[in-house]
């Protein structure tokens, strides 16, 4: 028994990402068609050439037919997958493993969400029938409990903590302002962030990810086939997923200052990819900044900062565009927006742009290190699942 991974066996040869935002003028099918056609064009291939499809959507549709119908796929295996907010990453895992197994030569992962047709702000999941005792809190409320717990554990003054969280939001808005696909393309000052209306606990509107419509897609092939599609393929170094048991909610030992599922997924991904010091080996990281405290804690869970130090690293600018390890160079969930099923693949899309040196010049980061990480989570503190991938420009 071992999590062996598929290091260097599968390559990404084409990717696409729609603009994210309140796309009142397009429906779910339109998003799927747009992302698919762009992705096929990027890989210089066509629909018939793709052997199998995985559609990730959390709540916009059910079954593979939701993709087969708008694309008019005939006789193809098409599967819908869902894994909370890590749904897009789940589609990638399925496609990559399918190719690695030898079952298919070419597979596509597509993630999409149409959230803006619901008529309510925020994300609204429809739960299966139940006994009525399940929590009905917003994700914001669940994550808001992490900030005071972290501040108390590490003795961070309340105002300093507020400044740290605002710095994260400011950085992600700064990056998003340089991203034409992002939902929010405006720099926001810390004063505005701190003064924004409260959503839950001490979290204001600007501490929360944008909720957007959007789609993203990737085409994966056997590593040895990659050169026939592109001269700049990216190689999958690690794919890791850990689903928590949910016991954090009822375990008196859990203190809300770390996410064990994220730590475990990172450990597994680093082992698969041979990374020993992520801070110095990664060119960039795309992480699941659904709320500002989430990104703060992830810096420690992913090993980018020692326990209890991420807050000071944030203030030093370690994770800024020109910092030691740029994080969320595309603006993250915070300003790129969060179409649940698409976000995992959107993160991958940023590594595709950056590692191929194709990001807009004002946010292109140095890529000498040749490796990038995506981290995508679903759920809440105590009841979470976490995905981590490592992507590289070179084999070996």
């Amino acid at each position: 028994m071992a999590s062996r991974g598929i290091r260097d066996r599968v390559a990404i040869v084409g990717m696409s990402c729609t603009t994210f935002g309140e796309r009142w003028d397009v429906g779910f099918d339109d998003l799927l068609v747009e992302a698919t056609l762009d992705c096929l064009a990027a890989a210089h291939t066509n629909m018939n050439h793709v052997d199998a499809f995985w559609l990730g959507t959390a709540q916009s549709a059910m079954s593979g037919i939701a993709l087969a119908r708008p694309l008019q796929l005939h006789g193809k295996p098409v599967t819908r997958v869902e894994n909370y907010c890590a749904t897009g990453s789940e589609a990638l895992r399925a496609a990559a493993y399918a190719v690695a197994s030898g079952a298919y030569d070419v597979a596509m992962a597509i993630g999409a969400e149409k959230v803006k047709d619901g008529g309510y702000q925020g994300l609204n999941a429809t739960l299966p029938p139940g006994d009525g005792t399940a929590r009905t809190l917003t994700a914001a409320a669940m994550f808001s409990m992490a900030a005071p717990a972290y501040a108390a554990k590490y003795g961070v003054d309340k105002d300093v903590m507020r400044d740290v969280l605002a710095s994260i939001a400011q950085k992600n808005h700064f990056n998003g302002a340089r991203n034409p696909r992002a939902q929010f393309r405006k720099e926001i000052s810390k004063e505005v962030i701190i003064g924004s209306p409260r959503i839950a606990g001490d979290l204001g509107v600007f501490d929360c990810a944008g909720v957007a419509d959007g789609a993203a897609a990737a085409i994966v092939v056997r590593a040895e086939d990659a050169p026939s599609y592109t001269d700049k393929p990216l190689y999958i170094k690690a794919l890791s997923l850990v689903a928590g048991s949910g016991s954090g909610l009822i375990d008196p030992n859990y203190d809300y200052t770390h996410f064990p599922e994220c730590e475990a997924a990172a450990r597994d991904a680093y082992r698969q990819s041979g990374i020993t010091d992520p801070r110095s080996q990664l060119a960039l990281a795309e992480v699941h900044d659904c709320f500002t405290p989430t990104e703060l804690i992830l810096m420690e869970d992913l090993g980018f900062a020692e326990r209890g130090t991420a807050w000071s690293e944030v203030l030093k600018g370690t994770f800024s565009l020109n910092g030691d390890l740029p994080v969320n160079t595309d603006g993250g969930l915070k300003s790129f927006g969060h179409p649940v099923g698409a976000s995992g693949l959107r993160m991958l899309f940023e590594t595709w742009m950056q590692l191929r040196n194709e990001a807009p010049p004002d946010r292109q980061v140095p890529i000498d290190r040749g490796l990038a990480l995506t981290h995508n989570l679903g759920g809440y503190p105590g009841e979470m699942l976490s995905f981590v991938s490592v992507i590289g420009t070179e084999l070996g």
């Binding site: 009905t136 809190l137 914001a140 005071p148 839950a200 016991s247 909610l249 009822i250």
Partner: protein, 485 residues
């Protein structure tokens, strides 16, 4: 011999200052306060709280043969509300549960029937009194519940009060009435009802004394309750009944709790008598008479026993009255659905699955988790496989409803759906083990802190498709701070 084994009264946390009505409308209102049930309370949840107090107060008052529930404001019709109380108390399936519904007289009626019956019967009565803004009912009514455990004893040693007997009178006349579905009652010209009630009250008082073979001066305390305030005052004066002590406290600060009121007054007086006995100021053997005026009149006579000195109320009505907190009139009007405020722009809850709720009733209604026999880890809700060590099907039930706990961390959610936003939510660690994230109630957002003490309370989370979603919340533990003279 029949009599009372234990009793508990429940007064909800919130108070409406009666003068706030006049402040807004220029008319109506009055002096003092009335009790206001929370937006997440109904007569069933208040009944559960009263019954829980009765159980905690009276060691040996269980098991019960029957649970009877009386209210004029049942959350369900057709379906038995007593069954919900039965489930929340975790009673055995062989305990019968019956509703006595509709008229406010059903409270005293159930109590009298239990006293004349056999077996151990918990008589729970609860009410939630409404009136239109500026009406007398709006400010003079109150919300509350009482649970009185009635049983038999060969001698009076088990009883805190022995039932001596009583009498009833019934008369058909329209004094106070409410059509099904109406939120307010209507009343006839009050002099007519007063005339009838004074006559009926005097009649049952006399016949009752004859029945139990007592002279008026042998009765130590006469308590008069009823829905007709003027008739209650008149009869109180006419027969020299008491209008101070608990009677006055309830009238000035809680209001007339309808179906529950006779039992609530009786419970409050038993608590006074118990304290008096314990302090050596009152002796056992005192006779109490409870008169209720409602579509006739009833009188019940009791004699306190020496067991009363050992009976220790878990939380007295007086303590609950003095630890209440004010509710602004605007919120009161919205909770009573007299005004409709903008709801949160979130989807409303879905209806509860009947079969899922039935399957999980020990958890949902009883707040019973499971405890791993090996690791002692407490699982909320109960689980088959342990989170510590992975033992399979090796757990005992872990009843948590009577456990107190402390707040580990908390948040205020402005976005989630609630009938009265925002939701205050906390992670609670229970004394003796176990953790659960819970909604808090009976507090103002911004008043809690890490480490605060909380206890469990049975509430109605929401309703959808006419099905009420009952579950448990946590409320701050209220401590009565003695004021030194």
């Amino acid at each position: 011999m029949r009599g009372i084994l234990s009793a508990g009264g429940y007064v909800p946390y919130r108070r409406l200052d009666r003068s706030s009505v006049r402040d807004l409308f220029g008319v109506g209102g009055g002096r003092g306060t009335r009790s206001v049930s929370g937006y997440d309370e109904d007569t069933t949840t208040m009944g559960v709280e009263a019954a829980r107090l009765a159980i905690r107060s009276g060691s040996g008052c269980t098991p019960w043969d029957s649970l009877w529930f009386a209210t004029s404001q049942p959350p369900y019709l057709d379906k038995t509300n007593a069954a919900t109380i039965h489930a929340a108390l975790g009673l055995s399936t062989c305990v019968a549960a019956f509703d006595f519904g509709g008229a406010t007289r059903s409270g005293i009626g159930a109590l009298k029937a239990a006293l004349q019956s056999s077996g151990t019967i918990a008589v729970v009565s609860a009410d939630r009194r409404d009136g239109l803004p500026t009406s007398a009912d709006e400010v003079e009514g109150g919300d509350g519940a009482a649970g009185i455990v009635v049983g038999s004893a060969d001698d009076s040693t088990m009883l805190i009060a022995a039932y001596l007997g009583g009498s009833s009178a019934t008369d058909e006349f329209v004094d106070r009435w409410r059509a099904p579905g109406d939120r307010r009652s209507r009343v006839w010209e009050e002099r007519f009802g007063e005339t009838r009630y004074l006559s009926l009250g005097g009649d049952v008082w006399q016949r009752g004394l004859d029945e139990v073979g007592l002279a008026p001066e042998q009765v130590d305390q006469v308590l008069v309750t009823g829905m007709h305030a003027r008739a209650v005052r008149g009869l109180t004066k006419e027969i020299g009944a008491t209008s101070d002590g608990s009677v006055r406290l309830l009238s000035e600060q809680v209001g007339q709790t309808g179906t529950a009121h006779p039992s609530l007054v009786l419970t409050a007086v038993l608590e006074e008598e118990a304290a008096g006995q314990a302090a050596g100021e009152l002796s056992p053997g005192r006779v109490l008479a409870l008169i209720h005026l409602s579509d006739g009149a009833d009188v019940l006579f009791f004699r306190t026993t020496d067991k009363l000195a050992d009976w220790s109320p878990a939380r007295t009505i007086r303590d609950q009255v003095v630890t209440g907190a004010n509710l602004d009139y605007g919120t009161f009007l919205s909770w009573r659905e007299q005004v409709h405020v903008e709801p949160p722009r979130r989807p409303e809850p879905q209806r509860v699955s009947s079969s899922a709720a039935w399957r999980n009733q020990e958890w949902k209604f009883g707040f019973v988790g499971s405890r791993d026999r090996i690791s002692s880890a407490i699982h909320l809700p109960p689980a088959r496989i342990s989170m510590e060590g992975g033992a399979v099907d090796d757990m005992d039930p872990a009843p948590m409803a009577d456990c107190s706990g402390s707040i580990v961390t908390f948040t205020v959610d402005h976005m989630s759906y609630s009938p009265s936003p925002p939701i205050v939510f906390a992670v609670v660690d229970f004394d003796g083990g176990g953790r659960f994230p819970l909604e808090l109630t009976d507090l103002d957002a911004g008043t809690m802190a890490i480490g605060d003490r909380v206890e469990m309370t049975f509430r109605r989370l929401s309703s959808a498709d006419g099905i009420h979603n009952y579950f448990w919340k946590a409320a701050p533990v209220r401590v009565v701070t003695e004021v030194q003279p």
